[in-house]
Amino acid sequence: MDIELTHVLKKYQNKVVVDIEKATFKSGKVYGVIGENGAGKTTLLKMIAGLEPYERGSIYYNGKCLEQTDLRRVTYLSQTPYMMQMSVYNNIAYPLKIRGFTDAQINSSVNAILDELQMDALANQMATQLSGGESQKVALARALVFNPEVLLLDEPTASIDQNTIKVIESTIAKRNREMHMTVITISHDRDQINRMCEEIVTMERGKSNVYSRHNHGE
């Protein structure tokens, strides 16, 4: 899914936090958003996810405006994901249940993603009792299980151990490769941006600038 922002302005109490003339996120690419704290990165992702209203401008999804778009194909993963008070299995099954999948389909999809993220042993644990890294993996599994077209990640690996980071990065890369999923991720880790992203978006005081990484894959 292509995403295009034109003349988008967002203010918090009269302070401009995002002011983007034009920015395009092409389908199937992985974008890294970098910038200092307060530059408007999280607000940008939340606006694309439909979680933040904006004062002016438009966001187009495959050329269609927000009102004509099914945002069920766009998902956002926060830095501190909320875990529902149920088991890990049920947390991951939730997006499928609300989409009316059968029990057999749910069981197969959830078990596959638990296996992919190496979390089989956690399936029956209460999600609210997990560590930070485990919660992040569960939230990622929950976001990926319904195969979204756009994945928005807000510092998905902040304060997580290296092994978990590797698993998360490889899962995202695999989904991007196989499902042609658009990924936009915020990170303060330049190495991670270099590893994961083809394009980089710099944010500075609400303004964005997109440029390609020619050395991608080196």
């Binding site: 979680l51 956002y76 529902m84 609300i98 989409r99 976001a143």
Partner: protein, 229 residues
Amino acid sequence: MNFITEGFKEALTLLMSFDKEVYTIMGLSIGLSLMSTFCSALLGIPFGIYLGLKTFKLKRAFTRFVYTAMSLPPVVVGLAVAIFFSRSGPLGTFGLMFTPTAMIIAQVILVTPIIMGIVFNASKEKGRAIYNVGKTLGANRLQILMLMITEMRVTILIAVVTGFGRAISEVGAVMIVGGNIKGHTRVMTTYIAMNNSMGNYGMAIAMGMVLLIISFIVNSILYHFTAGD
């Protein structure tokens, strides 16, 4: 001291003898309180959730208003309802004064702010996080509301039980709008107040014991659901 012991003995005899009047009063009390708590929950839970999520200009003033309404004096509510439903009042044509319906209306006015205030507070604190998860996972409005109720179920249960406690123990408002009419609007609290003023301590103690038992049962249910949280 003797009258207290005698009172307890009389209370036990009354309860064990399955006195029809006593059990009618108990039934009406519990029925009215359940009905008013149910109506208040229907109003208070969705509104509490919605207003906790919503950002609007007068939110601070509204919060203060809700918290004030949580401690509304029952006698004042009773008086207001009585004025509205008295024969010459604006709603006098409905003929609801001194009926169980008027008692339910008074209790709903007292209980709704309690349920709404508790749910509103919880929704203000973690409602946005739950809403965002629901929305980003593709839930529609109804599914998000159901998710919020499920996630805040302990708080909602506490709110409902607190509301029920207020309804069943309230005396001032139901006395004014119900009139304590035997077999019609007489409930446990008005019965205790009446017997106390008449010096019938046995009757008053019997009903007091029943109220305590109900309170114990309700709190035990609450503890059962919240202990694992």
